[in-house]
Symmetry: C2
């Protein structure tokens, strides 16, 4: 398992591009992305559980119901959600892909991200398609990653290399993060490509299982988006014996997927709206996996703890408070808390009560850009990790006037 | 039913006081409150569901297990939570009340609020008790209300007058709000007194029922406190025929209690940490009471919506998003949203989709200090209300370095 360059074009037979087509006013910001596979690919997807769903999700779900897709089109600047003609527009986007690339409309994954409830016109997309398609390239992952950004400050690309049945395979992904990030049984916008050969059924199984431990353990602001989606395309061009059941190859594939998605989660959380710090909360010693996961996620979701981390304040009482109200079944008298970073480690709470620690040392640890909040919940065998970010003035600023 | 002055001393036979005893460094901030009844009173209480519980709650629960209490002591500046000797200190506080006032230690309700996990010493409390007890007065509600404040910017006192069986009764309350406010099946620190005669059993029934529609529908930051508690003392000095069962008098009592608690909720939400605006979300037309309550509460808890309200931005998509992920069973295609304030009313969404509206007019409505987010969920008979506040730079500032 090796991290490599190339993002969503690292795998054989995938090309991508991103252009500015005019959905956004800012002419320097790309707002339309396209990813295509040279051949039809096995496809799997998970979606938001929000009852208010973006129209593109409905169209995508229908398009990949046969387990096959060959392209992904995604615009930013408008979520195409809560619009009366949303389905029509999302279908129209896939028809535009067919017209320009020859890939069947029903093999197109459609996604949108941006403001909810503002009409989206096909006009800029139609105008941008020729340039978008003409520029498709094996070096186009970066342009695509930029085109799906909303309030993201950095593009999010990761790729890994692994071996299945003696064949070298690659898997890469791009993500859009930043705000309305609190995936619940699904996730935000992530597009993953791989040249591994794997059945659509096993691909869905791998993805559905992985998101429970990765994207569903990530939160920026507690708001589950209406347009959350992760899609993975596997075109089989690596030439490995197709993965069609559980076994060694499937395990390797799962490991590759997890390596990729954990990195994307860290990128998404660390670039949360207004964030200055990545928070990683780890729990060990839990009696159940549920208790470990619920505790970690509650801690990284606490507004009070997030604000304390912004201020580099070792206010561990807020960590205990967040575990206490999380609903996790834990024995409070066994809880331990340490703050860790590249600057060191400070234990602040043992057996549910405070212990003396150096405020100065804690300040040093918490002033770093990546903070681990390490929980010990007892002597049980279960552990979990969750990713979040601090709560800052800029979060308020960004969201106080997002639409203008 | 009439709003009156006097707070927690409005009811006959109650005196109160608040002093600075030295738990806080700021010598101008009162930090110790005492409320006493001339005679033993029926008592009822509800507590936080946080597994991490302040020691005072354990002591209070034991003390009022016989349905009787005669005094409330409460300090601010230290929550007496997650301390190894917490129970001993909380018991010690009630013993100090007995020594100074003659009221039995086991008839004392004990409460603390402030930083979690810092040792609390009895010394300043012991030193402050003589002045605190000597100053007890029928005009002391304000001093007591000030003494329980933490990051609150205004003291919170309300009182009402009502009639039970021809006798004039009074009920008053004080509250501590501001941060770590997201009561769950219980509530924040609220002390209510009444001279109505009512059995401890009916008092508990009234309180437990009322908090479901009031404090449990209030949130500042989504963090359920470890020290949440509402206690009510009824000393019977109004001379009415005691309320011992359901019926007209109990209904009147419930109405008085609800009038009082709704006002306290509005005060707590409007004075949320850093808040510039009170948000009141109302829902009508729900198919179930649960759907109405869950929808309203999810909206006022959304960080994104709270930030939009701070920016006076009519971003109604975030309202729909918050209803969609709330878990409430609603038909999205029936949802309507209007923003209302003293400056007018603007309908922004009908049948789950946006409708044209004047951004200028919406800005005017949302620039006011009290905003109603009015939801229509369909044609059902149920309704609900929830209270919250906007998310501001000052919330981050206050909580970035709370302990110092």
């Amino acid at each position: 398992m090796k991290l490599i360059e190339g993002g969503v074009c690292a795998a054989k037979g995938f090309r991508a591009n991103g252009v500015h087509c005019g959905i956004r006013h800012n002419r320097t910001k790309r707002d339309l992305a396209l990813i295509v596979s040279d051949v039809p690919a096995a496809a799997a997807s998970v979606y938001t559980t929000n009852l208010v769903k973006g129209a593109p999700l409905t169209v995508t779900r229908e398009h990949i119901s046969d387990g096959v897709a060959q392209a992904v089109i995604c615009n930013s600047g408008n979520a195409n959600t809560c619009n009366a003609n949303g389905i029509e527009i999302a279908e129209g986007m896939s028809v535009l892909v067919e017209k320009t690339t020859g890939i069947r409309a029903r093999d197109v994954v459609v996604a949108s991200t941006g403001v909810i409830g503002q009409p989206l016109s096909l006009e800029p997309i139609e105008n941008g398609m020729p340039e978008l398609a003409a520029g498709l390239s094996e070096k186009g992952s970066e342009a695509a990653a930029e085109a799906i950004m909303t309030t993201d400050t950095v593009k999010k690309e990761v790729a890994v290399e692994f071996t299945l049945g003696g064949r070298l395979c690659r898997m890469g992904g791009i993500a859009k993060g930043s705000g309305m990030i609190h995936p619940n049984m699904a996730t935000m916008l992530v597009f993953i490509t791989t040249d591994a050969a794997i059945s659509a059924e096993m691909l869905q199984k791998a993805l559905s299982s992985d998101v429970q431990k990765t994207f569903n353990m990530t939160s920026v602001d507690g708001d589950t988006s209406t347009n959350d989606m992760v899609t993975i395309l596997a075109n089989g061009l690596a030439g490995n014996t197709p993965v069609v059941a559980e076994g060694e190859d499937f395990t390797t594939f799962m490991l590759a997927l997890n390596t990729l998605t954990v990195q994307l989660c860290r990128l998404i959380a660390g670039d949360g709206e207004g964030a200055t710090k990545l928070l990683e909360c780890t729990a060990v010693g839990a009696e159940t996996e549920e208790a470990a996961k619920i505790s970690c996620k509650s801690v990284i979701c606490s507004s009070l703890l997030k604000a304390a981390m912004f201020g580099a304040d070792a206010n561990w009482g807020r960590v205990l408070c967040a575990i206490g109200y999380s609903g996790a079944q834990v024995d409070v008298s066994k809880i331990g808390v340490s703050f860790k970073s590249s600057a060191g480690s400070v234990e602040v709470c043992r057996n549910g009560a405070g212990i003396p620690f150096s405020e100065e040392e804690a300040k040093k640890v918490l002033t770093e850009k990546e903070i681990e909040i390490a929980l010990t919940l007892g002597d049980g065998p279960y552990s979990a990790t969750a990713w979040g970010c601090d709560l800052t003035y800029d979060y308020v600023k960004i969201n106080g006037d997002y639409r203008t």
